[in-house]
């Protein structure tokens, strides 16, 4: 039995970033947390041939009724969690709407077009303004810097999961996360992951 209610049914969450940032891991952890709470969860993602360094996106769909298509229809995302700032904008242009909410890591990963100087990477101010313009609520913070403090930039994905739980959009809590971690990781990894999750919660609660 599902004791928790969804704000929207189905609830459409998109987790985006650059290949290699742990996007898939993040969607699996969130998906498992919701699935173990009794919801139907469908995760759509592409990975495989050299997605590393490219734009990647996971569609996480939650429902108390049924399994859904692994692709969210255009303009129908409720929440975008982004591990890279311009990727958030890219996703909003296809799946955003005036009510969408955004949690975004502000650490840029430059595309090779920017590294080579052919393209410009927007300023932090421009990104923040754009994201605020395109969403009803935005949480922005540098998750990569916090993750480096924990010991590895990869923890940014768990920090974002913690932030998502604190945004109270989906029925996710820390105990749920802990249980999910315990089925997948060794004890030493769990400690760092819980720390990362807490940092994410704090970032959202302080904004």
């Amino acid at each position: 039995m599902i004791s928790k209610k969804l704000k929207h049914d189905p609830y459409n969450l998109i987790i985006t970033g650059v290949g290699g940032q742990g996007n898939v891991m993040s969607s699996r952890i969130i998906g498992n947390m919701l699935s173990s709470s009794g919801f139907y969860v469908t995760i759509g993602e592409t990975f495989g041939a050299s997605q590393r360094g490219g734009s990647v996106m996971s569609h996480v769909r939650v429902s108390s009724k049924n399994v859904l298509s692994p692709q969210i229809p255009l303009g129908m995302a409720h929440m975008v969690v982004s591990l890279e700032p311009v990727e958030a904008i890219r996703v909003l242009s296809s799946y955003g709407n005036p009510d969408v909410k955004v949690i975004c890591n502000t650490q840029p990963t430059h595309p090779i077009g920017v590294i080579s100087g052919r393209l410009d990477y927007p300023s932090q101010e421009k990104i923040e303004k754009s994201l605020k313009d395109l969403s009803s609520r935005t949480w922005l913070f540098n998750a990569t810097n916090i993750a480096m403090g924990i010991g590895d930039p990869i923890f940014a994905n768990i920090i974002m999961a913690g932030a998502l739980s604190a945004a109270k959009e989906l029925p996710l809590d820390k105990n749920n996360f802990k249980t999910s971690m315990e089925t997948q990781f060794s004890a030493d990894k769990i400690k760092q992951n819980l720390m990362a999750f807490d940092h994410g919660i704090n970032m959202v609660n302080s904004q």
Partner: protein, 634 residues
């Protein structure tokens, strides 16, 4: 949900289905989106013989041996692999199988991780093999399990066709019991020649076996008429009937939901798509006047149902058919709910779904002004970037308009600017060297361009050896560069015959690429691609030499489990020495080499190191003419 379900990837559900069916032998060759199936089996089911075979044809043969010896068996491959296995596949379809045998073929509509858009379903028709297509995650498990029973009943191979969006998507799955049965493998061959279970296993006499195959197909068609995997959902007399299969089932459902058309539209989801359940289709089509086919890649169901309608004109009657052939569904690319929504809007002449157009306008403008494109490139510290940098440079230094024939692997990206647009032809596994062998024989027609082929280590074993033999024997002129990164990197570091580990990580005898090439008579040498100058000198010499030369560029993939995280060097910028745009180097490190581990800081007019991404390969230190990039030992 009463029963406890768990979140499973489509591929994991297929694995679970095979385990529940009591599979004993599983073989495949890595290829997205199919690779997780053999990977998962090798890690979780030690009592099953699991094998990464040298290529898909051999995988199908290894699995068939299991079936012939009385063990349920599974072969797994992506769609282009079915092409590789096709010769044996056609003969296997004709000879028949014994214990249940299933071929899982993973198609990639939209070519998300492929360089073609093949549709395995046509092989079913071409070769007369029963075909199943799971329409959701639960079915991926149940259909796989049932496929073994069906195969055993018909004594025919069964194809289970999955697609990327099912294989790599995850959903809730309720698992069943695992069949535990000890089986002794034994190949019986002393019975009557024509006895399928005790005689010899072959396709001859062809006339007899071909007739038998048609009987099996007919039997499959009858079984499919009442299959639980074919479902009809919707009103009794719908204005429109959607006929769909595979993951498109979920797109069709979503489209009907979004447009609130459930009182007008019914969905016939077919799980058994060859042979088609003719009577079931007739009965459903009689309920309506309009039909929309929703399927990916080829109009397979659409065309074959139209063939059925010609055979039963009084049962089918005049209908309006919509689908790929009418232009309501795109002929190419993958589908999604929006494309089905669009075709329904067109058929029902609905107003286009209302988006906030002001939002869309604003978002598109932001996208244009604020979102630099993210081209795919090699990873930071990838040995292929160093290899292609040198190959490209050497071809320019050689100055005879030489070119490179590409092959399948991460290094296919050598065709893009991130690989310096080095690759000029790109086709199937092994084709680079086959093409080079051909180009290398054209001197009698005046061709004087040197030819290089690139080939990965796993690809070398898969299909790189025959064209090399061909080149040697036919005295072609080419330089084959084997980009040996010690694993099948693109698909997740599966082992191959050149490594000393087997499928499950156990020690295995390695086949030495260098010795193989030398034994063929090719002049062979090895170099580390991270040593730019040495590689350049060797390659420049090889291009001048006649005959077949092999250069093995050996450097482990930066992401490989053995290497991951370990830096060779700490890389630092000497800001006094880096003059940026004023150096005269044309910013070779960032503008040309473009490793994602570098940052171009426009304000400072200097190159910087991205400490998060840099893997410390040290290659950029060798290309800086100002000696501004320094490598310090870790």
């Amino acid at each position: 949900m009463e029963k406890i379900s768990c979140l499973m990837m489509g591929n994991q559900a297929i694995v679970r289905g095979a385990i529940e069916a009591g599979v004993k032998v599983a073989a495949g060759y890595p290829g997205t989106p199919s690779s997780e199936i053999i990977d998962t089996l090798s890690k979780t089911a030690p009592d099953i013989y699991t094998e990464w075979s040298v290529n898909e044809k051999v995988a199908l043969e290894v699995a068939a041996a299991g079936s012939f010896a009385g063990l349920r068996s599974l072969a797994v491959m992506k769609q282009p692999g079915v092409n590789v296995a096709a010769d044996f596949l056609m003969h296997l379809a004709l000879s028949g199988t014994r214990a249940g045998m299933v071929l899982v073929a993973a198609d990639d509509p939209g070519a998300l991780s492929s360089i073609n858009e093949g549709d395995t379903r046509l092989y079913s028709k071409l070769m007369g093999i029963p075909l199943l297509e799971p329409g959701n995650f639960q079915e991926a498990l149940e259909m796989t399990k049932w496929a073994f029973e069906l195969s055993e009943k018909l004594k025919s191979l069964v194809i289970l066709r999955t697609v990327t969006r099912l294989s790599h998507a995850s959903g809730n799955v309720i698992t069943g019991e695992i069949k535990k049965e000890a089986k002794k493998a034994y190949f019986e061959f002393n019975g009557n020649m024509l006895d399928p279970l005790t005689g010899i296993v072959t396709t001859i006499p062809v006339s007899v076996k071909h007739s038998l195959q048609h009987e099996k197909l007919q039997q499959a068609g009858e079984i499919f008429e009442s299959s639980v995997f074919n479902t009809y959902v919707g009103p009794e007399n719908p204005e429109l009937l959607i006929i769909t299969s595979s993951i498109c089932n979920l797109y069709a459902k979503e489209a009907v939901d979004v447009l609130n058309l459930d009182s007008k539209v019914a969905i016939l989801k077919l799980g058994t798509t060859w042979p088609l359940p003719s009577k079931l289709i007739q009965a459903c089509i009689q309920k309506t006047k309009q039909i929309l086919f929703v399927e990916e890649i080829q109009p397979f169901v659409e065309e074959n149902i139209k063939v059925l309608s010609a055979g039963f004109p009084d049962k089918f009657g005049p209908k309006a058919y919509f689908g790929k052939l009418s232009g309501h569904i795109p002929m190419t690319g993958e589908l999604n709910p929006d494309l089905v929504i669009k075709s329904l809007e067109q058929i029902f002449t609905l107003e286009l779904r209302a988006f906030s157009s002001s939002y869309k306008k604003k978002a598109d403008k932001t996208l244009e002004n604020c979102t630099p494109a993210r081209e795919i490139s090699f990873c930071p510290g990838c040995p292929h970037r160093a290899s292609f940098f040198t190959i490209n440079k050497v071809l320019k230094l050689d100055n005879r308009n030489g070119f490179t024939c590409g092959d399948i692997g991460c290094y296919s990206l050598g065709i893009l600017p991130g690989g310096f647009s080095t690759i000029k032809t790109l086709h199937a596994m092994g084709s680079g060297t086959g093409l080079a062998s051909g180009f290398g024989k054209l001197s009698q027609f005046g061709m004087d361009q040197p030819v290089i082929s690139v080939c990965g280590d796993s690809t070398f074993f898969h299909s790189g050896i025959p064209p090399l033999v061909n080149a040697v024997h036919n005295e072609s002129n080419l330089t084959m560069v084997i980009l040996d990164n010690s694993g099948t990197a693109m698909t997740g570091f599966q082992p191959h015959p050149g490594l000393s580990t087997g499928t499950g990580g156990e020690p295995a005898p390695e086949v030495d690429i260098e010795q193989v090439c030398k034994a063929m008579g090719a002049a062979t040498c090895i170099c580390d691609p991270f040593d730019l100058k040495k590689t350049e000198n060797i390659l420049l010499e090889l291009l001048k030499k006649k005959g077949v030369n092999v250069l093995i560029l050996r450097q482990i993939c930066t992401l490989s489990p053995e290497k991951k995280g370990k830096k060779y060097f700490n890389i630092l910028i000497d800001e006094q020495k880096c003059k940026g745009e004023d150096c005269g180097c044309n910013r070779i490190c960032t503008r040309i080499f473009s490793c994602p581990g570098l940052i171009w800081n426009k304000e400072k007019n200097k190159t910087m190191i991205n400490d998060i991404l840099c893997t410390g390969c040290g290659v950029c230190t060798q290309i800086c003419p100002a000696d501004a990039i320094k490598a310090k030992a870790c």
